[in-house]
Symmetry: C2
């Protein structure tokens, strides 16, 4: 059975040595001393290793079941959820007035990674609740907040997001679920929603569904959409649970992975719903919380890769097979461990250098969200808005690729379910699809974010990279291994943007045909930048005579690997982009 240990040291390195959290002017950051974050992350790690990780295979094997309209989660999930509630983990970064601890989002993100790595399907029950809470915080009335948030923050009640219908996912303008206004100000919601994660289960007393539906008079397409609260059990004035609402589970989907999470078809049959925010402004309410939700999915990408990597590494050190080409390294044994072989090293270094870079990128993103929310920093908001599709799309594509690599280390043992490596890949696969398929992320990036506010954030991004390179050009530890590759990759990215500007106006397909390549090269430049930041921090620690020289030397070597072997991918992506729309769009649909 696979195991998991929280990478506390690496997380602390990013929080304290790279982001220098406790020196920040963001409210709540000053308290983030090393001892404090260590205590939190180690505690989360204990829950993850001892309780959540052992249930990961159980969840995969048993799955959820629907019996007489009731959804049952796998053995052990109920107890684990109780432990999660008791630890107060859900509220760690939520407002104190609703029972949370109001810590920075970056702390919630680090803790989230630990739980997602240990058991992604399980953590989704909480993750969806967190998303619903954010929607209510941003758009709910005071009364709605008072009614729902305390119970949701404590996880006594959980939440869901209901967007997709059988005939539409990406194109929400096609939604058919209806909301009919009632005399008392409520609505009757009718329709079918599909792919509803954590749609129903036996972990909480109530499930608060947030549902997109069309109320009369809103016009065509997405303009007519509003957001509604539809509780599984109606809530009485005193906060106690009332009648069962007319919402039911049609079925639980059979999926490739995340079997431990109940992905439900939800049927609304004149269910009572309450409008959230303004009528016909439901899409806006959704978009507000998308940055955080998408960052959370981008996190799933590398968090699954982390769990898979830990097990692949252990196997590579343990499994004896073949001899090092440079001579036996385990002469007393029947063979050398797999890790002596260069191609196994390559696979492990690909994983390690991606995961550590992605972790830094994600924490940086969370830090930008903290700046935006806690300081009202508009530049930070514009920057995270630009980076969100990159974090989501790039990291889940790569993260999945890395789980496949980790599985490959096991050979045939990776293909059988016994070792758990298949599950990491099958679970990670969904992150490329939900919360906006990765092609849609690329479209959002190129079609919307890049040009937003006259390209302000994109220009700021390039200025930031340029500034960093200039500022450190005298730093010999960074120069040839980090700054020069970063400069070259950033130049590729700018050339791609230039190509879009020159050709996209005449033919928007010229930009969109390169959108996924652009998203990937953007991701590489971000990870290259993260590695340069991390290298700088490690070089400084070594100069200062750190007591943990091995950690920082390892960090530098891992960064060099990324810069030498991963970052040059920007050149390939640029070549593809510059080939334009013609090769992509040459065929008529019936020529395929």
């Amino acid at each position: 059975m696979p195991t998991y240990t929280a990478p506390v040291k690496d997380m602390q390195f990013i929080l304290h040595d790279v982001l220098k959290a406790s020196e920040s002017d963001i409210p709540g950051y000053a308290e983030l001393e090393r001892d404090f974050t260590a205590a939190i992350l180690e505690e989360a790690g204990k829950l993850a290793s001892d309780v959540l990780a052992p249930l990961n295979t159980v969840g995969d094997t048993e799955g959820c079941r629907l019996e007489n309209g009731v959804v049952y989660t796998p053995t052990g999930f109920k107890d684990a959820f109780e432990a999660m509630k008791e630890g107060g983990w859900n509220g760690i970064d939520l407002p104190e007035e609703y029972g949370g601890q109001n810590m920075p989002y970056v702390v919630g993100t680090a803790v989230g990674e630990v739980f997602v790595s240990a058991n992604m399907a399980f953590n989704m029950y909480q993750g969806l609740t967190h998303g619903a809470i954010n929607a209510l915080l941003a758009h709910g009335s005071e009364e709605q907040k008072a009614t729902y948030l305390p119970k949701m923050v404590s996880l006594e009640w959980t939440g869901t997001m209901n967007l997709t219908e059988p005939h539409c996912g990406t194109d929400l303008g096609l939604i058919r679920t209806k909301a009919e206004p009632q005399d008392d100000g409520s609505y009757k919601i009718s329709g079918q929603k599909i792919f509803i994660s954590a749609g129903d289960h036996d972990l909480s007393e109530n499930v608060i569904h947030l549902v997109l539906a069309k109320a009369p008079g809103g016009g065509e397409g997405t303009k007519g959409i509003s957001l509604f609260i539809v509780p599984k059990f109606l809530v009485n004035a005193d906060g106690s649970l009332g009648a069962r609402n007319a919402v039911s589970v049609g079925k639980i989907e059979e999926k490739m992975g995340i079997h431990g999470n109940a992905t439900c078809v939800m049927n609304y049959d004149e269910a009572t719903g309450y409008l959230v925010g303004e009528l016909h402004k439901g899409m806006r309410a959704m978009f507000v919380m998308m940055n955080e939700a998408r960052l959370g999915v981008g996190l799933q990408g590398y968090a699954q890769a982390e769990a898979a990597y830990q097990n692949a590494l252990a196997y590579a050190k343990d499994r004896l097979q073949g001899r090092a080409v440079t001579g036996p390294e385990n002469p007393g044994g029947s063979a050398d461990p797999l890790i002596v072989h260069p191609d196994i090293r390559r696979i492990l270094m690909d994983q390690k250098s991606f995961i550590e870079g992605a972790r830094a990128f994600t924490f940086w993103g969370a830090h930008l969200i903290d700046r935006a929310h806690r300081l009202g920093d508009k530049d930070a908001e514009a920057m995270i808005s630009l980076l969100t599709p990159v974090i989501k799309g790039f990291q889940t594509d790569k993260g999945f690729e890395m789980t496949i690599q980790a599985q490959q280390v096991f050979g045939g043992h990776g293909y059988i379910e016994e070792w758990g490596m298949s599950q990491f890949a099958r679970d990670a696969r969904i992150a490329m699809i939900y919360e906006g398929a990765n092609g849609v992320q690329a479209l959002d990036l190129v079609g919307r974010k890049l040009a937003a506010e006259g390209g302000k954030a994109a220009l700021a991004f390039f200025e930031m990279i340029k500034g960093f390179i200039k500022e450190n050009e005298g730093n010999e530890a960074l120069k040839s291994d980090f700054l020069e590759p970063l400069k070259a990759a950033s130049k590729d990215l700018q050339a791609a943007m230039m190509f879009f500007m020159q050709n996209g106006m005449k033919n928007p397909n010229a930009a969109l045909a390169g959108s996924t390549d652009f998203m990937h090269m953007f991701g590489h430049v971000c990870l290259g930048y993260m590695w340069a930041l991390m290298a700088k921090a490690s070089a400084e620690a070594l100069s200062a005579g750190t007591s943990d020289a091995t950690f920082h030397e390892t960090k530098l070597a891992t960064g060099r690997y990324y810069m030498a072997r991963q970052l040059p991918a920007t050149g390939l992506h640029l070549a593809r982009i510059q080939s334009g729309a013609e090769p992509v769009m040459a065929l008529a649909a019936d020529q395929f």
Copy 2:
């Protein structure tokens, strides 16, 4: 439920327009007229579409079961296997004296693709038998051939290959299964073998296991290994079935995919076995048939991609979602079909251009095997020996990637099992692992094949490419779109080989750290060459006023896509290779 239609037209294009089969001097090729191959492929296509494809999901859902020592295959497999037997499909490229039809291997390969696309797990029962037949043809005694081959060619009996043990897969030198010589010339075989595909089942009367084991006196490592026939039921002198042999199924593995095939743990408990070929020369016997077996797995890579692509394409044409950025293309409908979107096009073109290129590459490989076997052409044998790890490793890596892309077209519907897209990916995944994991293919390519006979085959490969480019340099239809990119990619490949030669002697890790990158760039150059050959054939057909101009124009456009957007990957692989061993090997094992 997914469907499948055999791509007969594309196969015929490769056989007749590109390989010009009927003009070849290879015995058996003259009969390959268009009408003849059409008849065969359409007949195979009918069986595939009507019988095998509908059982693909059944096999995945039901899997195989072991009850009281007996293995049962999924519902319908028995009838389908009878149809396969009746059609004589297994013997199509096997010798007439054992009941086969002695057609060229390239025909067997085309037919094999059809069956593998329709139902990979099912086709493995036959595929493994085919492999065992080849081993016996090459190394069995006349008596063994007479006893086993007629029944195996007709599929009354099936075959297996037993190599892997719990503690060793790649490193067969560690094998523990023992063979004790008996007075009557037979051996008693004892040990445990794992991951035995089609290890037991209810489709045939007898299962002929080919087992690697160590007989006394053979020395350490792979030198001591011999190959044995171990029949499930012993065979009497008159050919009838005798006593049950002491071989039993320990369990059926739970796997990520190919659930329809019984992957067995086989226990040999002093089972009666018969030596095949020379004592202690078992590895040599194995290696002889590896080229064909690995080509067959390389075929699985693109054949699964083909099946997945056909369904992704149908969905992309059918599913209405969003509007084309250049204006509605289905103004009367609620939205445009997915295929209008450039990023969906990109995904489909990636698949189409890879699959058609890989099909040509594989058929060319089969054609080389025909040259080697039927003409005794040593150059062809050296060439296919060089290309085999590329066909296996590159095509299964890419083929899997393409099934993931096809799944992505379906969004959330690709993740649920209902549409069958998850199965294509889960089934395709194994091809990267078995028959030598892809890292081992890369090692075989760089560590063995590249330098074999003084690099003769590699040099011949580059001469061939150079010759083709020179011969066609006046061809304006090919020049900028095909010849120039091919030249550039081939130059990258040569530069990589040069790097290995210059650095690999001092430090073998400098070559091995780049082995997978080299395998991939080699694959790209081969597909680029195939596309140049296909473009030439299509350009000629168009000049000659073909009646099917659309087919050939589509072919040219698809080729241009590959050359513009896939082939430039050689530059990235070269950059990685040239970064050398240092980034890959920098860390000590305990620094990970």
